[in-house]
Amino acid sequence: MKRTSTAKLILGIVAFALVAAACGDGDSTDGPTTTAASPERGASGRIEVSGSSTVEPITALVAEDFAAANPGVGISVEGPGTGDGFARFCAGETDVSDASRAIRDSEVEECAANGIPFFELHIATDGLSVLTSPENDAVSCLDFNDLYALLGPESEGFDTWADADAIAAELGAGNAPYPDAPLVVTAPGEESGTYDTFVEFVIEDIAGERGQEEATRADYEASGNDNVIVNGISANPTSLGWVGFAFFAENADVLKAIDIDGGDGCVTPTAETIASFQYPLSRPLFIYVNTDKAAAKPELAAFIDFYLSDGGLASVSEAGYVELPAADIDDTRAAWDGR
């Protein structure tokens, strides 16, 4: 009697483990491995991509199509962020790094120190969209001075738009005075590449001149999840914030994009104005490829070939970003062919 109880326990645990493992087995054969090794499958091997969460959807779409055509290739696309991506890329852990900004000098040095040669491919364009609620009729265009007055380091503690009038007057901002309405800011947190880009484009120069810290105000609702930001902006009639263009385009019914004046008049963010860089907050999106690995791994070269083909680059608009003009695509392809 007592013997059986121990035996039963062990049996039970083993059975449980086996059932779970068997389920797993079934799942895995149902899933990615159903297309069993066919004799004339294309390339084989592994490709690892990491980097910007902004660029991830584009690369993931390309990778999905590539994997469907080349079932022998294992491929993963991650999006922890541009900086994290470069850290792994320059340690030689990944083959390709997605980036929502150009590589920094410190990262170039890191790659060089580890003997990782790379090259840069410009694959798409994004526009930082400065947003408010569609109910906000009072504000339709802002210039960099306005944005600095409302969001810069000196705006800390401003609860209404009108609080920024004094700084705006000092700077000669084009669209002051502002409405006397609550200023509720929801925007990306400091860990985000989208935050970095905003500081770099809008805040850096003015803050430098005024001897201020090159950062935004700290007292706003920060989130790493762009959908949370979209909800925060749409929920308040006099809100303010910024996200990547794809998130605005997907939620255009509940958001209003504020035109941006970079010195040449107000420009609305649209696919055209972003692609031509006429929109002042346009930013290029890149992939960085490890040159040595591209030479050593035919499957990686095949992947980049496919990425830069018309079929591959169609993923850019599918993911909600702005495709490059034909001339820029030719430049990118030339950069790849001349590697």
């Binding site: 645990i13 779970a20 895995s28 084989s44 779409l61 022998g72 998130f247």
Partner: protein, 312 residues
């Protein structure tokens, strides 16, 4: 009430409760407060479930089985959970196979064999502290040891690394719950066993463990549930946070576990919740339903097993 300061003999209490029948105001008030507490927690839970189900049920009915059987995809209409389900179940197996025997063994030693010295008490206190260490710290440990240091054995960012990380994470909880279950066995049972000449091992195996087993398994169920919902340590221990990844065609289950990348359901939920397309909001809710369903299934299986053992 005025009589509270008076000495409470049993006769007084009985007499008072008979006199004041139906007028126990404090008791009534307290039971009301307790009921409110219960309803609040239930209400929050139900709101959460109702919100998730109303958001995700459309995907489950619309997509049906394909939502569970398809791999990840950046296209919402095609995206499925099979890789996450495989990963989560695989991690569960690791937690049970690795943490259960080690945890139970450590608990038996601590309770039945270890002398009650200062060192033993120090170890005991340390295990309790370890159980309170934030899970992200175990993730760092997993990254440093299983992913980097032992990558020859674990294969780097594989299910083995993730499984071992979670096993280490739940080990202290496993030891504590098992030790408490063993401690709760009346010492009379042990003494009776020794009295008829049984050895210490015979006593533990035939008398202590069978009595403690249901409580030990209850602890195991809770532990597995904890491991099932973890995402932070897995992110560090190499789980793929991604809209798309694929293993090469034709890999065996063994290779899938020891060489290929993996993900888990909570990671997929996290990833989908940050996608720009609105369809992914529904997919996120649907994935949460699947996660809850799977967790309930795993727990139910463990509870059934426990009840069978209890009825023995």
């Amino acid at each position: 009430m005025a009589t509270t300061t008076a000495p409470h003999s049993a006769a007084d209490l009985v007499a008072r409760s008979l006199r004041q029948r139906g007028r126990d105001l404090r008791g009534t008030a307290l039971s009301f407060v307790l009921l409110v507490a219960l309803l609040t927690s239930l209400g929050i839970l139900l709101t959460l479930i109702a919100d998730v189900v109303s958001g995700g049920i459309g995907v489950l009915t619309g997509r049906g089985w394909s939502f569970v059987s398809e791999p990840l995809s950046p296209t919402a209409a095609k995206a499925g959970l099979v890789q996450g389900i495989f990963g989560s179940l695989g991690l569960t197996v690791f937690v049970i196979v690795v943490a259960f025997p080690i945890g139970l063994g450590a608990a038996i030693y601590l309770e039945e064999y270890a002398p009650d010295t200062r060192l033993t008490r120090l170890i005991d206190a340390n295990i309790r502290n370890l159980a309170g260490v934030p899970s992200i710290v175990y993730g760092l440990l997993g990254l440093a040891i299983f992913v980097k240091l032992a990558d020859g054995f674990t294969g780097g960012r594989t299910l083995v690394s993730g499984g071992l990380t979670l096993a280490v994470l739940v080990l202290p909880i496993m030891i504590i719950t098992s030790a408490e279950a063993i401690r709760a066995v009346p010492s009379g049972i042990r003494q009776a066993s020794y009295g008829v000449g049984a050895t210490r091992w015979e006593t533990i195996r035939h008398h202590v463990l069978p009595v403690a087993l249901p409580a030990i398994l209850t602890g195991t169920v809770l532990t597995v549930a904890r491991a099932f919902g973890e995402s932070a340590p897995l992110l560090l221990a190499g789980a793929v946070l991604s809209s798309f990844f694929a293993s090469p065609a034709g890999v065996s289950l063994w290779q899938q576990v020891t060489e290929e990348k993996y993900t888990a359901l909570p990671i997929i939920v996290f990833n989908w919740a940050r996608q720009p397309q609105k369809e992914f909001v529904e997919l996120t809710a649907a994935a949460i339903i699947v996660l809850l369903g799977l967790l309930l299934t795993v727990n139910a299986a463990a509870i059934l097993l426990r009840d069978r053992l209890e009825r023995r």
